[in-house]
Every structure is written in C-alpha cells, then in structure tokens.
C-alpha cells in the first residue's frame, strides 16, 4: 500500500515537474531570451574566442532551451515529489496541498535563492572561461550546503516543537538556518567577473529573469503537485455525489 502510493506520487511529481517546466519555459523564452541575445551582442562586439558555431542561435533559444528547462523540470519534479512523500504527515498538521506548497517554497529558497544570493546567474560574456572549474565547484557546493542546512533546520524545528510550541520552534529553526547561511556566505570565496563596461541594467534584468523562471517553476510545481496528491490521497466524500461533479465537491469540502 505504502510503496504503491510512493510510486503514484513519484509519477505525479514528474508530471507536475513537466507541467511546471512548460510554464518556466514560457517565462524563459519571453523574459530570458531577449537578455541572452543582448548579452551575446555585447560579447560579439568584444574579444571573443568562440570558433565555429556548432549550434545556431535559433536552435539554442528554442529547442535547446526547451530541452534544458524541461529535463530540469522533470528531474526536479521527481526529487521534490519524493521530498513531499517524506514530509507528508511529518512537518505538522498539513494536508497534501499545503505540504506540497510548503516543500516547494522551501525548495525554491534552499535550492535556488540561497545559492543565487551568493553566486547569482550570469548572462553570456560574464565569467572568465579559465575559472569555470572553480565556479562550478563553488556553485554546487553552495547548493548542497544550502539543502543540507534546510533539512537540518526542519529537523531542528520538529525537535524543538514540543518544548517551544510550533510557532517559536519554527522561528528558532529559521533563525538557525539564516545564521548558518550567513556564515557560509562569509567564509566561501566571492566571485566577481563582470566586465567593467557590461551594462548594469542588462545584468539586473537577466538576473531578475533567472529568478522569475525559478519562481514560476517551483510555485507551479507546488500547486499542480499538491492538486494531484490531494486527489490521490484524500478520501472522497463517500457516495451521495453524482459521478460528474466529484472534484468540485471534494475541493469545496476543505
């Protein structure tokens, strides 16, 4: 019984991830691509050692972008779906929808926002190719650290809850998380490789677009997955309802 619901939730997680990926792709295409193009135009006006173009810009900005964002959505959806499986019934008195929403918001912060504030997304032509190894290591280290700290903070909050009550336990756990993240920010090396004459406006717009893509992805994942999980896990109000309109009644019941 348990294993079956894990499988069913996992499948729904990946489907919700795919749906969220589609929405994120729209945001990426509309808000992100114009900034990528502007950044590439800047790059082309400057020293630039790219050889023959292997993949044209049109393919990169459509099929290539879609491949990246959709695979990212499905992969993230599978992992986040399983995270909701673990969180269900363990983080407090929340139903499937609220649990999915809380896990998604937590994941947006831990997986993206916290690493982003230290090592933000960069458009083409920002970043020295010689330091790619160091930048990649630091970025993934920051993501892993942030996720571990978020999980640790959640466990800490759960442990403190009997003594402090749910509210103050949550506040204390959040404060511990922020402090630990602050220490990590202070001790990890800074990276600043923005060319001197690169447009500040363009950099800001690019980073905002990157943030909008992730916010779209995680929020829509949380809403879609919560909806699917609720339908799977919550017992329907028995009989009485006519076959056609069950969903509406079930939604209204909460």
């Amino acid at each position: 019984m348990n294993s079956i619901s894990v499988r069913a939730l996992l499948v729904r997680g990946m489907l919700a991830g795919l749906a969220a990926g589609v929405l994120a792709l729209i945001v990426a295409y509309l808000l992100g691509e114009p900034r990528v193009d502007s950044a590439i135009a800047y790059e082309d006006g400057h020293s630039h050692e790219h050889g023959v173009e292997l993949v044209g810009r049109t393919m990169q900005s459509t099929a290539g972008l879609a491949t990246g964002v959709l695979i990212y959505g499905v992969a993230i959806g599978g992992i986040a779906g399983l995270a909701v499986c673990v969180a269900l019934g363990r983080i407090g008195r929340f139903g499937p929808r609220a649990t999915a929403a809380l896990v998604s918001i937590g994941a947006l912060i831990a997986v993206y926002v916290v690493p982003f504030l230290k090592y933000p997304a960069n458009p083409p032509s920002v970043g020295d190719p010689d330091t790619i190894g160091k930048r990649t290591t630091l970025y993934f280290l920051m993501v892993a650290l942030s996720v571990l700290l978020a999980v640790a903070a959640t466990i800490l909050g759960k442990r403190l809850a009997p003594r402090l009550g749910n509210w103050y336990a949550t506040v204390a756990a959040a404060a511990a998380f922020v402090t630990a993240v602050g220490l990590a920010y202070a001790f990890l090396p800074a990276i600043n490789e923005v060319p001197k004459d690169f447009s500040a406006t363009l950099l800001w717009q690019f980073r905002l677009a990157a943030l909008a893509i992730q916010a779209t992805l995680w929020v829509s994942f949380g809403l879609v997955f919560g909806h699917l999980a609720e339908r799977l896990l919550s017992p329907r109000p028995a009989a009485a309802t006519t076959t056609g309109t069950t969903t509406g009644a079930a939604t209204a019941a909460h």
């Binding site: 393919m59 290539g64 491949t67 990246g68 992992i79 399983l82 499986c85 269900l88 960069n122």
Partner: protein, 74 residues
C-alpha cells in the same frame, strides 16, 4: 509547522495523515535521486568544468538553459 500558536481547536480541519514509512520511500529515493542527478549534470555541467563526452555539442545545445537556470557556464 507554522500552524497553531493558539492551542488547537477541538475539531481539527485536516484529518491526520499517516506518514509514509521511510523504508518504503528509500528505494525510490535512491533510484530517482541518482537518475535525476545524472540528468541535472548533463543540463547543468557537462562539457563545462568536466566532460564525459568530448566536444562542445551538449554544452552548446543546452547553452541558453544553462545560463537562464543559473548554472555557471563558460
């Protein structure tokens, strides 16, 4: 967790959900975790700092996604 700083009213609105046992989740988590990380590696890092496949094709194909999803890229 953020609920009920006020003592819970007698009738809880959401019926208690039984947690799914971690033993039931573990094999799925191991399998999907590895699979998803491999996918994320190809979207986020292949032919950047490290390369399993020679050339630049993977990097160039997911180039825009990599920048816009926040991964370090060349």
């Amino acid at each position: 967790m953020a609920q009920s700083a006020i003592p819970a009213p007698s009738a809880p609105q959401v019926s208690e959900i039984t947690p799914i046992s971690l033993k039931a989740i573990a094999p799925w988590a191991a399998f999907i975790g590895i699979l998803a990380l491999i996918l994320l590696y190809f979207v986020g890092a292949e032919q950047g700092a490290t390369a399993l496949i020679s050339g630049e094709n993977v990097h160039e194909w997911v180039h825009d996604g990599r920048h816009l999803l926040g991964f370090p890229c060349h």
